[in-house]
């Protein structure tokens, strides 16, 4: 349970590692439900298919005893605490199982006054990584089936959680695929960059999965659903798709915690997290802002300095 002790690098994460976390989560979740610290716990339950898991909102100690953590626990559960999912959870303090990347979303939501820390009991997971989409679900996490975002994870430790489950373990020698891909796109000539994104966005079917799973897309009225006046065409044509994805990336700039849920759920495999990462990089360079595990007073686009860069303005 002592996450900070030391970290180990291994070539594969065995099922036993996840089983230990599962045990710790169960113990904690059962406890806080029994002593009525919380009204419910948001966690993961196993799915019908082997090696799958899905989010669960449990309210009894009995159900809490079935919660799991495995490499299939990919979801960022903080989406269930937002306005977009209001009414699903009973009013009161809620327990939530959170990986480091999910914790960043929680911190962001607290920053934006959507959540209050006192209303949360965070069961943090010292997460070595989760499966990539479509990867082989063997129960063991290796270089071959780890998600792209996890290859360059910087938040293995859920600092700031009420309790933490797991010991710090990471896969050794992971290459940063996403960073490499981003550099590759940035190095392309302008027309090639446009062609790259055009091809990806044209495939979009506007199922809005990227919006619906995003903890930060909690607006009750999305700009992109409005047709009078219509700022972004709601029909799934290449023009409207391009506009939608640019609007989305812009609205998440300075807010996105990098959980990459948008990219994971995209049924058309559009590399959406690259856009978010690019914006995060820009805001880091310009305003030294980085989405972290601790809530801040204001995001980078909600504040300013008188001497901000204006070299691009005449």
């Amino acid at each position: 349970m002592n996450a900070k002790a030391s970290k180990t690098h291994v070539t594969c994460i065995e099922p036993a590692y996840y089983e230990a976390i599962t045990e710790a989560i169960r113990k904690e979740a059962v406890q806080i439900l029994k002593d009525e610290t919380v009204v419910g716990v948001v966690g993961y339950l196993p799915g019908r298919r082997k090696g799958t898991a899905s989010p669960a909102l449990v309210t009894t100690a009995e159900e809490a005893g079935k919660l799991i953590f495995s490499p299939a626990c990919v979801n960022n559960l903080s989406v269930y605490l937002t306005k977009a999912k209001k009414g699903v959870l009973k009013k009161g303090k809620v327990g939530i199982v959170a990986k480091g990347c999910d914790m960043r979303a929680l911190a962001g939501l607290i920053t934006e006054s959507q959540l209050q820390r006192e209303e949360l009991f965070i069961i943090g997971v010292v997460c070595p990584g989760v499966y990539g989409f479509g990867a082989e679900r063997t129960g063991t996490l290796t270089e071959a089936n780890i998600a792209r975002k996890c290859r360059e994870c910087s938040v293995h430790l859920p600092d700031g959680a009420d309790v933490a489950a797991g010991t710090h373990t990471e896969l050794a020698d992971l290459t940063p695929e996403e960073a490499e891909e981003m550099a590759r796109i940035e190095a392309m000539p302008q027309a090639e960059r446009w062609a790259f994104w055009k091809e990806h966005f044209s495939r979009c079917i506007r199922c809005m999965a990227c919006r619906q799973v995003c903890p930060f897309c909690y607006c009750e009225q999305c700009l992109c659903d409005k047709n009078r006046p219509q700022a972004v065409e709601s029909s799934p044509r290449p023009a409207g798709n391009m506009a939608w994805h640019l609007v989305r990336a812009m609205h998440l700039a300075g807010r996105c915690g990098g959980c990459a849920e948008c990219e994971r759920v995209c049924p058309m495999d559009i590399p959406l997290n690259l856009l978010n990462r690019r914006m995060a990089k820009e805001l880091k360079e310009l305003y030294d802002f980085e989405a972290g595990l601790n809530p801040v007073e204001k995001g980078p686009l909600n504040q300013y300095k008188e001497d901000d860069d204006q070299s691009f303005i005449k």
């Binding site: 899905s54 699903v88 495939r203 999965a209």
Partner: protein, 336 residues
């Protein structure tokens, strides 16, 4: 007499059809995903994976114009889409869970209103289905009354054989005509043994029993239990071979624009939102309930068919892992 076609000749057939100026659509690698797309040549055809989206978009496009309007000299001029220009189309390489969907959808598309956009495309298309030898743990076509070798919906049906060629069966006159027009590509004979099918985890469901349960349990704690986690996206409906809801939008200005029809999904919060602001399906689990009800009760009530082909796409794609086969099994196993 049974006939076979070699894989090379199947690809040659595609080349020929393209030369005949037909629109040939089949599974094709598009970026990192396999999708049904127009094939430029036989070599484009890829039969390794189930395409991410179903083949319904051939008849029911993601988005299509239904009319355009323009104000001219003070009067509004409306131009209809000339449906006679829809191309002759051949769909090749659709497994039964895709090939079978138009046969289900025909009923609703020619019910109280004839959807001429859909029906015209149907008239002009020939479907070459292929028996499915892939499959994974999300597949459940057998459970909803189909099978990996179900011919329903196909005009010509291919069965993969162990030597790499395909046994052909003309199911309809359209299929017969396609073979007759390209007879030199087909050879007589039964060929070798077929490639065996993959086992499915969900083998059989009692659809009558499930429908009866649904009739009696419009209100039931099950809905909250299974669907409170639904995040309300449209992924399941959009990639489904049978979901056919659409929305109509006028895009452009008040003087010049296009009326477009595009896919819609009952999972969206706005789907049943009234102009007054009232929403009869006010919470997500009611929206999800509609998805199940429509597929396994309402459609059956009206048309005597199940609105699901068991392709498993929604199971693979659901962002939160909602598993329709598991839900059906749960209902199937209920006592009351």
């Amino acid at each position: 007499m049974p006939q076979i076609i070699t894989e090379q000749n199947l690809r040659n057939l595609i080349d020929l059809l393209v030369k005949e100026a037909k629109l040939v659509v089949g599974p094709k690698l598009s970026g990192s995903v396999v999708l049904y797309e127009p094939l430029a040549a036989g070599s484009d055809l890829t039969l390794d994976a189930l395409p991410r989206r179903s083949s319904k978009e051939l008849f029911f496009p993601i988005c299509e114009d239904i009319l355009s309007y323009k104000r001219e000299n003070g009067a509004m001029k409306v131009t209809d889409v000339d449906r006679s220009k829809f191309p002759e189309t051949v769909l090749i390489g659709a497994p039964p869970c895709d090939a079978g969907s138009p046969a289900i959808l025909d009923a609703v598309m020619s019910w109280d209103y004839n959807d001429e956009f859909y029906l015209e495309r149907r008239r002009k298309s020939t479907i070459v289905g292929i028996a499915c030898t892939k499959g994974d743990d999300a597949c459940f076509c057998r459970a909803v009354g189909l099978a990996p070798d179900a011919e329903g919906g196909s005009d010509l049906f291919l069965t993969p054989l162990k030597d790499g060629s395909y046994a052909c069966k003309a199911v309809t006159d359209k299929g017969q005509a396609l073979v007759a027009a390209h007879q030199n590509l087909f050879a007589d004979g039964a060929g070798t043994e077929p490639v065996p099918f993959v086992d499915q985890a969900v083998e059989k469901l009692d659809l009558v029993k499930i429908k009866k349960w649904l009739e009696e349990h419009f209100e039931d704690p099950l809905w909250e239990k299974i669907a409170d986690i639904c995040v309300g996206c449209g992924a399941c409906a959009f990639i489904c071979p049978a979901c056919h809801c659409f929305d109509i939008n006028d895009e452009g200005s008040t003087d010049d624009g296009v009326r477009r029809k595009h896919w819609d999904a009952c999972g969206f919060a706005k789907f049943t939102n009234h102009a007054s602001g009232h929403n009869p399906r006010d919470v997500q689990n009611k929206r999800y309930r509609n998805r199940i009800m429509h597929k396994f009760k309402y459609y059956d009530d009206k048309f005597g068919k199940t609105l699901c082909t068991g392709c498993g796409r929604c199971i693979r794609a659901c962002p939160v892992g909602i598993d329709i086969a598991e839900i059906l099994e749960t209902i199937n196993g209920k006592e009351d």
